[in-house]
C-alpha cells in the first residue's frame, strides 16, 4: 500500500487522463471547454497529491524501481505549473486555428505523465518507459495540425531521429546491464564505486547513454531536429515542446549520469564539456542569422542547454543545484517567450517572423515590456532571474577549476545577447508593420503578465528558488 502512496501523483494522473478522455469523446464541439477545465483540474489534483504524499527523505517503491524524494516532487509541481501555463496560452490560439480538440490536452497530459515517471525513475527501465511515453506523445503532438505539410514533415523527422536516439540510449543501457548485472540505479552506483569497476565495455555503454541524453536535450551535434520541429509545429505545440520536456531531459541526466554513473564522472566530464562548448558556439552564433522567431528560440534553447550541461560538468552538489535552478528558470522563460509569440498571432496568421515584433511598443506598451523582461532574462541581464541562473552555473564551474569553460560561457553569452536585444530594439525603435491592436482573453493577459513579472521577482529575490533547489537536491 505504501508503494501506491509514493506513486500517488502518477496514479492520480492516469485516472484523471482516463476521465478527461472519456468525458471528451461524449462532448459536442461547442462544449469542448469542459475538457480544457478538466485538464487544468487534473494538474491541480496532481499537485495536491505530490505535495501531500511527500516523504521526508528519498524513499523507493516497487522493488526499488521507483523513487520519491523532495527534489522530484518540487520538479513535478513545477512541471504542472508550466503545463498549466501552456494550456492557458494555447486555448484561444487553438480555437482560432480550428485545432481545439481534446487530444491536444490528453496528449500533453500523457507527456506530463512520462515526465513524472522519469523524475521518479530509479531503474533504467522505468526511466526508459517514461521517456518513451513522453516521446510518443510529443511525436503525435507535432503532427497535431494534420492539414499542415510542414508539421507532418517535422513530425516525421522528429520520429525517425527520436527513434534512433531511443535505440542508442537503450543500447548503452544494455552495455551497463551487461557490466553490472542490474538495471536498478542504486545497485549500478554501488557497482561502479568499487575500485577497478570502470572497464572499457562500461565506458562504451556510457558513451551511448550520453548520445541519448544529448539528443533529448538537443545538444550539438545532436541538435538537428530541434529547429525544424520548433518551426514546423503549430505554436502551442512548440510552446509545450520548448518548455516542460527540458525538465525531463534534466531528470534523465540527473538520475543516470549524476546518481547512478556518478563515479564515472571523470569519464563523462570531458564528453559533456565538448557537447557544452559546441552547443554554446553553434546555438548562439546560428541564432543571430535567424529571421523566424521560433527558429531563433530553438537555437537559443541549444545555447541554454550548454549552460545546463555546465552544472553537470562541475560534478559537485553546487553544480547539480545550479543545473536544476537553470532548468526550472529556463522552462519559465521559454513558456513566457512562446506565450508572447502566441499573443501576436491572430486567426489565420502565425506571428512567426521577427518582423512581427516590430513596433510592439506602439501597439501595446505593457506587452512590449513583458517581452522585454523575457528577452533580458534570457540574455542574462541583471536583475532578471536569467542572470542569476547563468551566475550560479558559471560559479559552480569556476569552483570545479574549469576556468576556460567559464570564460567560453561568458564570451558566448555576450554574443548571444545580441539577438535577444535585437528583438527589444525591434519592439521599441522600429515602426510597426501592422497597427492592429492585440486581442487576448483576460486570463491570458493576467497569466502572461504574471509569468513575465515572475522572472523579475525571482531575479530580485533569487534566494527563494535557489534555497529550495539547495535544500532538495544533492
Amino acid at each position: 500500500m505504501i508503494d501506491l502512496q509514493l506513486a500517488a501523483a502518477e496514479v492520480f494522473m492516469v485516472c484523471a487522463i482516463c476521465v478527461v478522455l472519456l468525458v471528451d469523446v461524449w462532448l459536442p464541439d461547442e462544449r469542448r471547454l469542459l475538457t480544457f477545465r478538466l485538464a487544468l483540474l487534473s494538474l491541480v489534483g496532481a499537485a495536491v497529491c505530490s505535495a501531500y504524499y511527500l516523504p521526508n527523505g528519498s524513499v523507493t517503491a516497487f522493488s526499488e524501481s521507483f523513487v520519491t524524494d523532495p527534489a522530484s516532487a518540487v520538479m513535478k509541481i513545477f512541471a504542472y505549473l508550466i503545463v498549466g501555463l501552456v494550456f492557458i496560452y494555447s486555448r484561444d490560439f487553438l480555437m482560432r486555428a480550428g485545432l481545439f480538440k481534446g487530444e491536444f490536452f490528453i496528449l500533453a497530459l500523457f507527456a506530463l505523465l512520462g515526465i513524472m515517471v522519469m523524475l521518479s525513475a530509479h531503474s533504467m527501465l522505468t526511466m526508459y518507459l517514461g521517456l518513451e511515453l513522453l516521446a510518443l506523445s510529443q511525436y503525435a503532438l507535432v503532427a497535431f495540425d494534420r492539414d499542415s505539410p510542414i508539421a507532418a514533415e517535422s513530425a516525421m523527422k522528429y520520429f525517425v531521429l527520436g527513434a534512433i536516439a531511443s535505440g542508442t540510449l537503450l543500447y548503452g543501457i544494455s552495455f551497463i546491464y551487461g557490466v553490472t548485472g542490474t538495471i536498478q540505479l542504486g545497485a549500478i552506483a554501488a557497482h561502479f564505486s568499487q575500485p577497478g569497476a570502470i572497464t572499457v565495455p562500461a565506458l562504451l555503454g556510457l558513451a551511448f547513454i550520453i548520445v541519448g541524453v544529448a539528443f533529448k536535450f538537443g545538444a550539438v551535434p545532436f541538435h538537428m531536429w530541434l529547429p525544424d520541429v520548433y518551426q514546423g509545429s503549430s505554436t502551442p505545440v512548440t510552446l509545450f515542446i520548448g518548455s516542460v520536456p527540458k525538465i525531463a531531459a534534466f531528470a534523465l541526466a540527473w538520475r543516470i549520469l549524476s546518481e547512478s554513473l556518478g563515479d564515472m564522472h571523470g569519464s563523462w566530464q570531458t564528453m559533456l564539456a565538448v557537447l557544452c562548448v559546441l552547443s554554446l558556439v553553434i546555438g548562439n552564433i546560428v541564432a543571430i542569422a535567424q529571421s523566424n522567431i521560433k527558429r531563433m528560440l530553438a537555437y537559443s534553447t541549444i545555447s541554454h542547454v550548454g549552460f545546463i550541461f555546465m552544472g553537470f560538468i562541475a560534478g559537485t552538489e553546487d553544480g547539480l543545484q545550479a543545473a536544476m535552478f537553470y532548468t526550472l528558470v529556463y522552462t519559465l522563460m521559454a513558456a513566457a517567450a512562446f506565450g508572447m509569440v502566441i499573443l501576436l498571432s491572430r486567426s489565420g496568421f502565425d506571428a512567426e517572423n521577427l518582423d512581427d515584433f516590430k513596433g510592439l511598443n506602439a501597439r501595446s506598451p505593457w506587452f512590449a515590456f513583458v517581452m522585454l523582461m523575457v528577452m533580458f532574462s534570457m540574455a542574462g541581464v541583471p536583475p532578471f532571474v536569467g542572470f542569476y541562473a547563468k551566475l550560479v552555473v558559471l560559479g559552480s564551474v569556476l569552483d570545479a577549476g574549469l576556468i576556460w569553460l567559464a570564460i567560453t560561457g561568458v564570451l558566448l553569452a555576450v554574443i548571444g545577447a545580441f539577438y535577444y536585444l535585437r528583438v527589444v530594439w525591434f519592439m521599441y525603435f522600429v515602426d510597426p508593420v501592422d497597427d492592429s491592436p492585440l486581442d487576448a482573453a483576460l486570463d491570458f493577459r493576467v497569466v502572461i503578465s504574471a509569468n513575465g513579472l515572475g522572472l523579475l521577482a525571482l531575479g530580485l529575490f533569487p534566494g527563494v528558488l535557489l534555497d529550495l533547489c539547495a535544500r532538495v537536491i544533492g
Binding site: 492516469v14 482516463c18 478522455l21 472519456l22 469523446v25 461524449w26
Partner: protein
Amino acid sequence: MLANYAPILIFLVVATGLGLVLLALGFALGGGQKDAEKLSPYECGFEAFEDTRMRFDVRYYLVAILFIIFDLEIAFLFPWAVSLDTIGLFGLVAMGIFLAVLIVGFIYEWRKGALEWD
C-alpha cells in the same frame, strides 16, 4: 556458464533441421505441376513488384494497429489465466486494472469511429 546457453543451441539446431526437412519433403513429394502463378512470389493483396510510390489505404494501418493492441491483450491473458490460482486476488485486481485501461482505449476508438470502415 556456457552450459546455460545449451537450450538456445538445441533450439537453433532443431529450428534449422525442421526448416530443411520441411523444404526437402515439399521438394521430394510435391510433384511437378509448376505454372507461372505458382512460381510467382506471393504478397497478400498486392502486386509483388510495382512503383514504391503507390497509394495505400490508411485504414489498413488503423485496423492493423487495433488488431495488435487486442492481440497483445490476449497474449497477456493466457499466462494470467493459467496462473490465477497462485497469484490470487492481487493478480485478479491487477488484470482488472489492465483491462479497465484497455476498455477506456476501446471506448475512445469506438466513439471516434475508428471501428467503422466507411
